[in-house]
Symmetry: C2
Subunit: 153 residues, 2 copies
DNA sequence: TAGTAGTTGACAATATTTCTCGATTACGAT
DNA sequence: ATCGTAATCGAGAAATATTGTCAACTACTA
């Protein structure tokens, strides 16, 4: 399999972003391009609130309701996925590759983590009729940055 | 290892529930007993709203704010844990044993799933300094009940 | 270039969670 | 058994997060 174009390489490539949106059956409006782009250029799994603040830097006066609706349509189209994490607000991710998450309990940063070995997990025999389509793994712990800042805690 | 007392066996054993609460350093108030009990007798990972409705059957006029505060204190005491799942409201679980979750995308039921083999997952070498303390696994798919009601979808 | 379905903007409404503070209560110490 | 006290509860306001409504607008198709 060829290396898929990753998120970062898309950061300034608006025509490519527009193409993806149209390919998914959605209209390529400037609001959608800007919002989708914010999700593509970050790996921080931002909330709607954070996405909104960042898009405002480029698109003044974009109402937050539009961010909600846009994320919803991107999610239905399969371009974006909700990430279930502790906390009040939902978080979103434009990384469609199969990947897992490292969750730091101290700084709450969530890092993407790709490991094909984990993808092979198939506890099928024990699932008593459950037909699994996907496995999501969260590794909870302390990230390297937090360990350095206070190694013993 | 002896079989731990599971949640179901506690369902009507209020003295034992009170003992656990005191052991965790909390006062054993009637409200707390009722709320903690609701979480112990179900495996449905209910929301605060659902817990509130169920407790109301036994304790009329209990305000929902008290449910929020009680769940928070139980969580801080380590008796209850938040379960991160898709959806708007947080969900809670009194099952402290190490376990994972089967998430049905059709009926949204979440079933506990214990598999010691999965507990051995240690992707340490690839984690570049991340110190893992816990692995949470969600198996996403279609549960057996939903498969029967519409096998091909 | 016009028609149309899909989308946006403005804002109301609802849902979820946290906070404040005076009243009450569980529990250890008398 | 009663008291003192810190923890907890009850009531309700407030803050935060999300969804809904609908008229105006616009990207895309023909």
């Amino acid at each position: 399999m060829a290396t898929p174009m990753n998120s970062k390489s898309l950061s300034a490539d608006m025509p490519e972003i527009a193409r993806r949106i149209r390919e998914a059956g959605l209209k390529a409006t400037p609001q959608r391009l800007a919002i989708y782009r914010e999700l593509l250029v970050t790996d921080e799994h931002p909330t709607i609130e954070t996405i909104h603040q960042r898009v405002l830097a480029h698109q003044p006066a974009l109402p937050i309701g539009t961010v909600y609706k846009t994320i919803e349509s991107l999610e239905l189209a399969g371009l974006v996925s909700e990430v279930s994490l502790p906390g009040n607000a939902k978080r979103y991710d434009a990384n469609i590759e199969r990947h897992h998450h490292l969750v730091c309990t101290r700084c709450h940063r969530v890092t993407d983590f790709i490991d094909p070995a984990l993808d092979d997990i198939r506890p099928a025999a024990r699932l008593r009729g459950f037909r699994a389509t996907e496995v999501k793994i969260q590794i909870i712990g302390i990230c390297s940055i937090c360990q350095k800042s206070d190694p013993k805690a």
